[in-house]
Amino acid sequence: MSDISAPALFPAAAPVHVRGYWASVWNRLRYDYVTLFCLAVIILIVLSAVFAPMLAPMDPDRSSMANRLRAIGDRGYILGTDEQGRDMLSRLLYGGRVSLAMGILPVMFATVIGGMFGVIAGFFGGKVNMLIMRTMDVFFAFPSVLLAVAISGSLGGGFTNQLITLTVVLVPPLCRVAETATSQIRSMDFVDAGRASGASSISIIVHHVLINVMSPVLVYASTLVSVSIILASGLSFLGLGVSPPTADWGLMLSTLRQSIYVQPLVSAIPGIAILITSIAFNLVSDGLRQAMDVKG
């Protein structure tokens, strides 16, 4: 006969180690070596752009007719020179500042603006949704490059105008993603529970919707960084971006294209920089998406 009660035999289970959402995202990311590597590449690129004045061996804008189109490694020009004899490495470092800014800033602005419109449209539905989303559809109707060229063409070149152009182009897709995510959240029972406790729409959006919409929107936004870099480069390539002699990867690619037969490797460098940066951003956002796809 045993009358030992179950609880005495079995000590209460130790509390399960509990991680917050972001901690569990990081925990997954920690073992994703591809993402970590790409993240390192991005950090490297960002740092080199930030510290360009210290890192650049020469003035990126000083041309030298005598040293035009040097090959890689020739006469101390580590990456050669361009068609005006300017040091490629210095221009690449300085150009990274513009290109990265063009990749990140428009996406940030567009995330805020598009996200806001998307959440409003998704949460309130009905006529508000119709108004916002149909307006977005108008922009969606054009291919993004065409739209960018059209806006940029009418605004003119320059850093600020290019920023505005890219932001306008990126708002509709972000708005769409935020709207879809929001309307999914809106139909969830916990939103109804919030309303049942008397919460206003604003309070529910702030406390319940944003926190849930954030991860899909951020993941999508991170994929747009590479798109934005490429678009910005394209605009500069077409002469619609920053004005020369400012270094910009797209602009460098554009001016070097005539020299492709003379110095194919040097001419390709800005393109390779764009490629590496955009792939790195893409892979990081991919990894981020997987890591954020935590159950619950």
């Binding site: 509990v18 917050g20 029972d189 529970a193 049942a196 406790s197 919460a199 406390h207 849930n212 619950g296």
Partner: protein
Amino acid sequence: MTDHLETAAEPTADPRDRGGPAQPMLIVDKIRKYFPIKAGLLNRTVAQVKAVDDISFYVLKGETLGVVGESGCGKSTLARLLMHLVEKDEGTMILDGDPVGEVRGVGLDALRRSMQMVFQDSYSSLNPRLPIEQSIAYGPKVQGATRRRAREQARDLLQRVGLKPQLFSQRYPHELSGGQKQRVNIARALALDPRLLILDEAVSALDKSVEAQVLNLLGDLKQQLNLTYIFISHDLHVVRYISDRVLVMYLGQVVEIGPVDAIYEDPKHPYTQALLECRLSMDPAERVETAPLSGDPPNPVNPPSGCRFHTRCPFAEDVCTATAPRLGNVLDFDSRQHLAACHMVHAGSGHSRAPRSVAAPSPGDVQ
């Protein structure tokens, strides 16, 4: 929350009581909700889903009213109508003597403090990105409690529903089992100290052993906190266990209402009879060989004419197709009243099985 423990023993002593013990907690009179189905370029209404169609009932204080019906019968819409999560088309609600949403009645805020809802356990009932303590504390914060007070209250409630606050308060919903999530759901509903709890399929998604735990918890809470329940479920076994009175819904209408024993032992409506026959025995020797009802429940978009059940009813006659049977005077406030909306129980309805004389001793016979 704890200050109600002392008052729990004597139900009439509830300081929140306004209308007195005899005043029903909630009276619902001819509430109606049709959802338009829009189509075409001009977004015109092409049809209507008659989700809740002129439903009347009342719930007495301290009582549990069970609401049963199959999917699509409108029971969930009814819950959301009562909570004012869905705007009603027509009808009135009287909460403890005061009309809801009228100038001289109770406002929505007061309604929400008095009436709360427990949702079906599913992935959507708790915010996946909030620790459960914050999910519970949200309601009190909305109603003006300080952050600290709301947090304390949330921890008290967790304790009350059987979850140790020090272990659970910071957990996220995906770290909880189904039963634990449902306990959190209940705690959240209790956070505003309500008097009436609407439980919409609150135990349906749970394993049986957990279901029993949660039902026991609901029973304890009802006593301790002097609660009234509207318990919505498709599970007839559970409804029988928990309810004092039962309301049977079919396609947006009440087909039968009465005390739980009368409904289960002497069902009047053929739909209720069939539903009861669909309960499965636990003994393999008592297998059902032919299904009591054939076909799926019809679509609430265009419900059948006359009695909505006539398409599946074995006793259907011409009169059933032609005229809709009436339930009778539901708002009679006699809790022993047993009514059925079927021509067979109403004398002189024209159905061949209807009682001949008006004096037929049928409890459902009101007219």
